[in-house]
Symmetry: C3
Subunit: 323 residues, 3 copies
Amino acid sequence: MTGDGARRVCGVAPLDRAGPDELTFLADKRYADHLSACRAGVVLLAPEFASAPAAVGARVVVAKPYDALVALLPRFHRAPERPLGVHPTAQIGRGATIAPTASVDAYAVVGARATVGDRAWIGPHCVVGDGVTIGCDTWLVANVTCYAGTTLGDRVTIHAGARIGSDGFGYAFSDGAHRKIMHVGRCIIHDDVEIGANTCIDRGSVDDTVVGAGTKIDNLVHIAHNVHIGRLCLLMAQVGIAGSAHVEDGALLAGQAGIAGHATIGAGARVGAQAGAFGDVPPGETWSGYPARPHRESLKATAALFRLSALMKRIERLLDGGD
Amino acid sequence: MTGDGARRVCGVAPLDRAGPDELTFLADKRYADHLSACRAGVVLLAPEFASAPAAVGARVVVAKPYDALVALLPRFHRAPERPLGVHPTAQIGRGATIAPTASVDAYAVVGARATVGDRAWIGPHCVVGDGVTIGCDTWLVANVTCYAGTTLGDRVTIHAGARIGSDGFGYAFSDGAHRKIMHVGRCIIHDDVEIGANTCIDRGSVDDTVVGAGTKIDNLVHIAHNVHIGRLCLLMAQVGIAGSAHVEDGALLAGQAGIAGHATIGAGARVGAQAGAFGDVPPGETWSGYPARPHRESLKATAALFRLSALMKRIERLLDGGD
Amino acid sequence: MTGDGARRVCGVAPLDRAGPDELTFLADKRYADHLSACRAGVVLLAPEFASAPAAVGARVVVAKPYDALVALLPRFHRAPERPLGVHPTAQIGRGATIAPTASVDAYAVVGARATVGDRAWIGPHCVVGDGVTIGCDTWLVANVTCYAGTTLGDRVTIHAGARIGSDGFGYAFSDGAHRKIMHVGRCIIHDDVEIGANTCIDRGSVDDTVVGAGTKIDNLVHIAHNVHIGRLCLLMAQVGIAGSAHVEDGALLAGQAGIAGHATIGAGARVGAQAGAFGDVPPGETWSGYPARPHRESLKATAALFRLSALMKRIERLLDGGD
């Protein structure tokens, strides 16, 4: 560490706009040009930039500046103000059990026989259905709906507008109409899951819909009835998973990917952005494209396709004997 | 029927985890292996499994076990508790008409001159705009928004977080800015429509946006201004329909499919998952792929593409005279 | 102008169903057949249709009938009824500043230290986080969530259910779990932006997420952390933009398009519907397809692909020496 060891910072910003009371970092050569003009209070630097010129208040050389920054971020994060106990405007249904250390925020509606665990926080305008179970330290941010039949584990975070446990899309056509198939399966979200804003997870029809512990789900994702998601998966924004599909432990589904009904995505598999997996993806493999194929095969097909258009006339002439 | 005819069950579960107080079913050979270990109270069985070994309480042999189960599901479904009349926290606008048998739930906001029909249920935290008409037996589950200009028929169900009748995406560029085109068309949802969680249906600009009777719409679907959807259609999750498109009676749009503006999807047509229909799809046909083509043609093109990459070098050598 | 100059109209409708008290227009030959049966009170007509037979009340010939209609639409639009001041049910946090001319509607929740500008309107059931700044004439329609860290400019409109400033999808895997990376960047929405229903815009991690002035965003769009959107862009429904991507001034992203993380879409570029831009798109160019390529190249590749399947057998026979 060099420079003013007593320098105080109260915020974090990128290298190109951090001011004298902010912390920043430089980990990547691509951004090194910004250093000379940087006016940050403190900069975390990789060793290779240790003595580069910069008018910063203090420089701290660390092996992995980005990791160091991530470790420091919670110090700069201001937690939202949380009410104590049940807000006077909250509506609590008959027979509901709210832990004394839980918070139920303004205008939240908690249904009959629901259970809210220790230190859980039901944010403003959340609607929790009859009989729903909410674990300890679980946080429903705001405007969240949990239908009846939902069970949330401990340390689950559900972002604004997510809908958990809504009816699946199931109809049987008879007598000239789509007749609704009643959904009686549950929607079970295990511990340490985070669910993004406006994401929808349907309850099961007869089986349950399940999201395994430690899985993280981004915004605007759709998870249909009876889907089973394993542990520690990552589902990026706008992914759609059709009914009864299985996504095994540690799988990663990139943005806008679609998984067909009853397909299985194997443990540790990766499905590329916008890919359409119409069947199973083997464990550990990376698949991409539409329809999804092993990534290498998809890349080759795409490369061939873009060369093809240039060759097409020659191919046709050759086939027609005119070359 | 064999076994304990007096056996009582109070729930439904899949074959592999149904317990002594639950009902289950076996319709498909693929799951027959689970039967021997099954401890269900009652199992509905296809005739071929009538005498297979299983330690279940009672077995009921029926021609179509799944259909029998679906018929029984409503008996296991616990309807949510519904308040009677207008909840004291609900806000009712001037001149609104609420049928005496309707329910307006906690914190619902109903605009001026709105009409709510017999036995309709406006769930908690729903916002119903000025002048909106809501038919009989229609249910807005929770956190739903209906903008002014919306008309809902009878027996419509709108799931949590759906937005009905919002402004369409229409601007005219002039004087260096995108100027908003005022939307004055309506958003008309006919009888027996079900709309999934967080789905958005815009109001019309000059024409109306219309969803025909008996059509079912899944979660996170986007329906733009002036779109006309016919009767008995099925729109699966994350489908997007651009402005002024027409989807005729009985059409099916699979998950994440996109329909271009002004395109017509003919009656009974099917559009595959993730397909991009940039033009019309004729009635009764199945189209898929990007851009969408008749399904058989798309499959052939894909098959050719994946064979192409292997042949590409040989083709190039041949064209260059080196083979 | 010909016909009854005193004719009054109180609504707008398309040519084929406008009634005697409604205004309609005819700008396009395709719809000219409807004119003869049209019973509209007033019809705006292009000069070429000036004397075509129609039983309308009055006809007004204008060079650009659609533009004339758009200019008249605000006269037919009934603005929603807006409460004055802070509704008695609204919850205002400690230290919040609400302009005297602003409206805070039923059940809105405004966090501590938030600021709401002149004539702004916080609609029913909106949740505004601690310290959020909301500019003048900005309108949150209903059921909107703005997380702490959000800043909205003047004349911003946010439609129902949009989520602004939620945590980005950022985790670091260590000790067998995805550890959340705390997000401390802001979410800055500049003047004159309109944001569609149920759209999600995450806050930045260290950098900010920024949407430039005059940009318009449709429904169900996802904008990830640290994304920078320029001025006057158009983002159509269900577009997804991954983390740290840049979309420069005046770019247009069509429906369901996806932009990869860290990609740059140049000023004035256009990305086609459902396109997947895995890298940069140069300024002013139109790209389409998956993976996205210059539009002309994509069209050629697609055309070649659909001819290929018919030629495939002949190609294989030729390569195998059998032709």
